[in-house]
Symmetry: D2
Subunit: 370 residues, 4 copies
């Protein structure tokens, strides 16, 4: 079922870029969880466009309406429907695109799937705008997790070839909070300045640029997850590839592990203050799909925004005559920095689902913070 | 549900390394599909251990028994249960490991999840042996797909730092067949020789080494897949991380895309003999989660076999006293080359499920080869 | 996942009686299906309250807003979100009930499940009001099915001990259309008059009364459905028990079959105009969970509205002191007649899902009416 | 997915009557649960044929082989595969039936679904023989539940028009145990004698006869289950219609409720020894899909065995020429009495799944018996 993920906590995203609205349905949220709406809005603002020269000019308030499932600022156990109105659509910008698929967008593959019936104005259901309700849902999950000492945080680990310093093998919650508070979510502000220069240079060139995001989850107890196809890697990757433009994911040292010897790659077990730990964390806190109690750590690759102002070769549908396209409208020269909170949101949703889905060392056994 | 994946074609894997047997249950296979058992056995032999100095000494015939769902050499539409007996288990080898978790194995995380109840002899349900029924199931899927002109094939793209030449952007079925026929599944036999030297050197050093596998699917029509969370990347990644030791996946140019500009990364549309194509294929045949009609192309990272004969630091359970472990028993110094057909098998299962799950341009519309 | 059903066509219902709104999310609707909104409103009006002395005084326009998934009066293939505002809530009526569970309502069991966190005003998520979005979704499914010659229709088969004449073994679409056009959906208007008298008598006595609904589906081809746990009976029963107050279901001759001999109960095969038929239809068009091509026929039992104005024994929560309750507010003395279109709606959704889920004699093979 | 049910505890049934074997895969069983194999065999013997004149002459030992998931007599947390060999198949008996569908069997509908590819010898995957692995799986679930004070038990409530005395509104575990120990599972042995006479009379007349089964679950705490489509009624009905020949189900007073007034049907709340109870239990322990803490109580209708020795009208496939059929082979004149433990087994599986699926008042909170 395309736009849905999760086992006990199910998130379904709906809406199109230029339709009446967008939103999310969250089923399976535990009852009685308080929601701090101010904190939620601050989280959603992190993905908001239009704040500076790095982002699209489209500004929408993106105020979520809670249609159901919340009463007196707490969850009720019933499905939570979140609806965000589309208020600032200018479909005219896209009219000329309808029958000329934009390179590296979903226009052509969607046309082939739905034979032209889909509403693809502004990218339709594939638009990055759909990540707003994902952030609303994920922001709620983050609050529930944080009350239990579990934090999901990310930083922009590269833009083009400019790289931020990576997370240490064992990032902590304080580091994640510090990054989240920044306007430009990097560990090294100096590297961040280089990345911003890269983005502006791409814009200057009527071009765009890709990037990557590194994410960590701290505080997750050992023993959560499942073998084979429902391990933490399986669950996270399945959900994270739902974020537009994600084209790769690696856990722990990921592709670097493939170049190592076992004696380098293995994380020795040790113990510290009565808790069993690993001395290194090259496996990213996951063995056999199950948490080790060390921080989860992974990195996703984000391709360059496909919409660029340069003329590009394409064809006209349905016959396939050769033509060119110049994409007007409002587009980010790099979406990676705006995707940082989206990666956090999706991660928080997957982790909360993981806990709720675990019948054994379950949700209630993770003590709620007083 | 941990050991199960698929939407309309559901594969469930069961068994433990040192229990009575292992197997797979396949639900949703279309009825009336002929199975060529000889071809299936040849495919399964590609992952078989014990053939040369590169692999474990454990030799098992791995003859699948078809308990149900097959009649007169064809599928009946009923669930297919495949059972493979465990005939060559020597649990004694592992007895000393029970309470000393092996670094980078699932021993510790599984212990924390099931509080010691799991049968972890020989890796239990996490053992690489469980990929045998996956290959049996995937081998059937491959036959069904091939009859419809769809081919999934892979090569060992690296061992340690030695790299095979990569697939071209548009690999074809003939190339995939040629690799599949080789003893050592690489494109460049010269590079292959280097990889084999790397594996033997690792064994010599009582060590192991990682690798990576590149896979392609040809012949898939455009318009298959779903937006957001059930796209082809989501489905493949979720299933492929179920193969032991996979720690990363990238589609098309993957992480390299994150370093590119849009003008480099975008695949221009064109047409050729009346068919709309992309001139390059940096997106790996997938846009918005949906097939473009170009070959699917992706790469997975395989970590080094965690079992190595060198002494390693660990702790004793449950108290966590520091100790060391030397892993005896039969282990491959590199599992990447044996994982090549496993990646093909899982890919074939995901692709067949994708076709069966698509209600619109569906299974029956893909003409069966006469 | 509580408030969701369906395999390829997934319907999720959200909202509470006295919250901001109610609605449904429909995922998996085929693309390119025209929606006749006037026809949809007429269908929804059939369940509407407040039309006569038989129903609750609460009148709400129940105009569905289509948030997503519909463009230019046709489905796009993207998720359809329907939202209905709650405009006429008078929570004051229910305030005194919060801690006194109403007999035979979900108040107590919900309290035990969510420890008081659920918003149970007016029945909360359990309210009959939630059947409005079900009818909106089902009304769309009915239009899609009818274009393919498949009709789902129901009549009120009993109120208290007054019974309508039953469907013949082979009801046809014309009969279903005729009933649907009536204000009081019965076959025999004379029996209908008796039922209405029964309802008014119950109201007069500050009481309520139960009833039953018989439903049929015509035009479904043979060979749809699945063995064992996803047969037509399994799918329909699972969904229909989601309608508040349904306490029983029987297919074909149902419980009467349990009193018969095989020679009486078996439906002999025959053929007519080149089509294989059964001469009788005691099995209700379903054998082994799979359609026979004869009309589907089943009956559901609806318990009396639990809300009655008479004083009833109950306890106060959480301590359990004995007390009594008198339920004020607006309640139907019989909900069975309003549930008739709801049964049709749920049935249409299940049947459309059944067709979409069938990979073999599938959706596209059922010719679309010109 | 046809032959699978369950959310956290998933049961998949495989096999055909005359194939190599039959079995079940159970995923999600909690780890560390002891299995008493003798007790399990005694439970399975309750559905065994060939014990007396009431049953089919086919005798098979039906010894389950535990292929996986069990170690040292306890569950490991890994999938449990159970396999039962088919040792006593005489397909010759059925050869003449292949192209003449037996009235009220799945032969015709299965033929239409799979176009003749299905292996329908002896009923194939639809055979009552498939209930043997269901009993093996359910017998394990019963042991786990009983250790937690939860008992599922059933009796044969009618055969033809002869009725057993019904369960009281509040049956207890002792009563269930007493019935389970009987050769003929009824409350009143006198009524049981009448039922047996009815069965023998049907056999004498080369005919068969239907029946009904009433089932109860005691010890289930209040607050388990879900609203709308995953309530206890939804879950039980979906699974129970998977038992061959079940054509109806009613919960609590079921269809009788539809004839009552609310003042008769409502169950008043009260309290007893500090526990909130209902004084009557006409709703069968379920309100709003959620348990009330009172015993679950429901009844299923079983149609007469469709296989009868009398000549019956049918057609020949695929053309539909009129012909007749006389069904030889081994058949029970009534399957209702053998279905009693099957109903218990399926019920136990659904109830255990219900507990495991509940994230809130969950599995671990139900104290394990010391």
């Amino acid at each position: 079922m395309a736009s849905t993920f999760g086992e006990k906590l199910r998130i379904s995203v709906f809406g199109e870029s230029h339709g009446n609205g967008i939103g999310a349905l969250i089923e399976g949220l535990p009852a009685g969880e308080t929601i701090d709406f101010e904190q939620l809005m601050r989280f959603m603002e992190r993905r908001q466009g239009g704040r500076n020269a790095l982002s699209t000019a489209r500004k929408e308030p993106d105020i979520p309406e809670f249609v159901s499932g919340i009463f007196d600022n707490h969850t009720t156990g019933f499905p939570v429907c979140i609806r965000i109105a589309n208020t600032n659509t200018r479909s005219g910008d896209y009219n000329n695109l309808a029958m000329k698929p934009r390179p590296s967008h979903a226009d052509f593959s969607a046309y082939m799937k739905w034979h032209g019936a889909a509403d693809m104005r502004g990218g339709g259901h594939f638009s990055g705008r759909l990540t707003a309700p994902l952030c609303a849902a994920g922001g709620i999950a983050k609050q529930i997790l944080e009350r239990r000492g579990i934090f999901a945080g990310a930083h922009l680990s590269s833009v083009g070839t400019v790289q931020d310093v990576p997370f240490p093998m064992l990032p902590d919650a304080a580091m994640l909070a510090e990054i989240a508070a920044k306007d430009f979510p990097v560990i090294s502000d100096e590297k961040g300045a280089g990345m911003q220069a890269e983005i502006l240079a791409a814009r200057e060139a009527s071009d765009s640029v890709g990037g990557s995001i590194e994410c960590a989850v701290t505080g997750l107890p050992a023993g959560l997850g499942d073998p084979m196809f429902d391990g933490i890697e399986n669950r996270l990757s399945r959900a994270l590839f739902g974020i537009p433009a994600v084209k790769g994911i690696e856990f722990g040292d990921g592709f670097s592990l493939s170049e190592m010897r076992g004696s380098q790659a293995n994380d020795p077990f040790s113990s510290e203050n009565g808790k069993i730990i690993t001395k290194s964390n090259r496996n990213g806190g996951i063995l056999g799909g199950i948490s080790t109690g060390m921080p989860i750590r992974f990195r996703v690759a984000i391709k360059p925004t496909p919409s660029i102002a340069q003329p590009q070769e394409t064809v006209s549908l349905p016959q396939g005559e050769h033509t060119t396209i110049e994409i007007k409208g409002r587009h980010d020269p790099c979406i990676a920095q705006r995707a940082v909170p989206v990666v956090e949101a999706v991660t928080a949703l997957v982790v909360l689902d993981l806990i709720l889905s675990d019948s054994e060392p379950n949700y209630n056994n993770i003590a709620k913070e007083k």
